[in-house]
């Protein structure tokens, strides 16, 4: 599990790769929260390179979402492909997160 990060003006784009399961999520949580705390402004979380997510991975997304909401910063999640669809739908997260199809769309939404 690797995480790459890009900056587009004030927006942080965070892109994890691989599996977000119980074994990898603690490291992902540390990295994601570190990037969030080291920046200001909106965050785009691109899951396009994630091949699998379990409840442990979704928990990390909820922790991040709560932290950003507490700081009045926006979070847009994009790249939720077929392998992740079940987990997002069953958990209900697909309806509580702001979702875009791609990073380009997410950045356009953020203006």
């Amino acid at each position: 599990m690797d995480v790459t990060v890009e900056r587009h003006d004030a927006t942080l784009v965070v892109r994890p790769h691989g599996r977000l399961d119980s074994a990898t999520s603690p490291a992902f949580e540390k990295q994601l929260l570190g990037h969030i705390d080291g920046a200001q402004g909106a965050v785009v979380l691109d899951l396009g390179e994630v091949v699998y997510i379990s409840s442990a991975g979704l928990r990390v997304l909820l922790v991040a979402a709560h932290r950003l909401r507490g700081a009045s910063r926006r979070l847009i999640v994009c790249g939720i492909g077929a392998p992740l669809r079940d987990a997002f739908e069953i958990s209900g997260l697909i309806t509580i997160f702001e979702v875009s199809t791609s990073v380009t769309d997410a950045l356009a939404v953020l203006g």
Partner: protein
């Protein structure tokens, strides 16, 4: 292809990738559709993680066994452990319709098991917890 596959795991999250790979290989051997395979993988991973984290409470040298079997009309997964008696089906489901402000971070694991499988049963047998997951499969 017939027969069972038995995966013996130590009670540590480091075993999860090996578990997932073994389930994926089983599903491939039995020509199960990729969507079905990923649902089974997710459900079994969640059941095993629950045992490792809650059943054994972090003790890493305990055993957990996953038995995969393909019947005519279903895949049956039997997960057993020797942790103290614990019926995961008594956990209340999370409120998946709550808005973000009122949404808890965790509590999704067993809910995933119940939602992804067609039938989930718990029993205590001697010193073992036994959880049987059934997913129906078209012939």
């Amino acid at each position: 292809v017939s027969g069972e596959r038995v995966i013996s795991l130590r009670s540590t999250l480091a075993e999860i990738p090996r578990l997932a790979a073994a389930i994926e290989a089983f599903c491939e051997d039995h020509h199960l559709a990729p969507e079905l395979a990923s649902r089974i993988t997710l459900a079994v991973e969640e059941a095993v993680v629950n045992i490792i984290v809650h059943g054994y409470g972090g003790a890493a040298d305990q055993l957990c066994e996953v038995r995969l079997a393909r019947d005519d009309d279903a895949v049956r997964i039997t997960v057993s452990d020797e942790a103290p008696p614990f019926d995961p089906l008594t956990q209340p489901p999370p409120d998946t319709t709550a808005p973000l402000e009122r949404r808890q971070d965790g509590g999704l694991g067993i809910y995933f098991v119940r939602t992804l499988m067609d039938d989930v049963r718990y029993r205590r047998e001697g010193s073992r917890n036994i959880l049987v997951l059934t997913k129906r499969v078209a012939r």
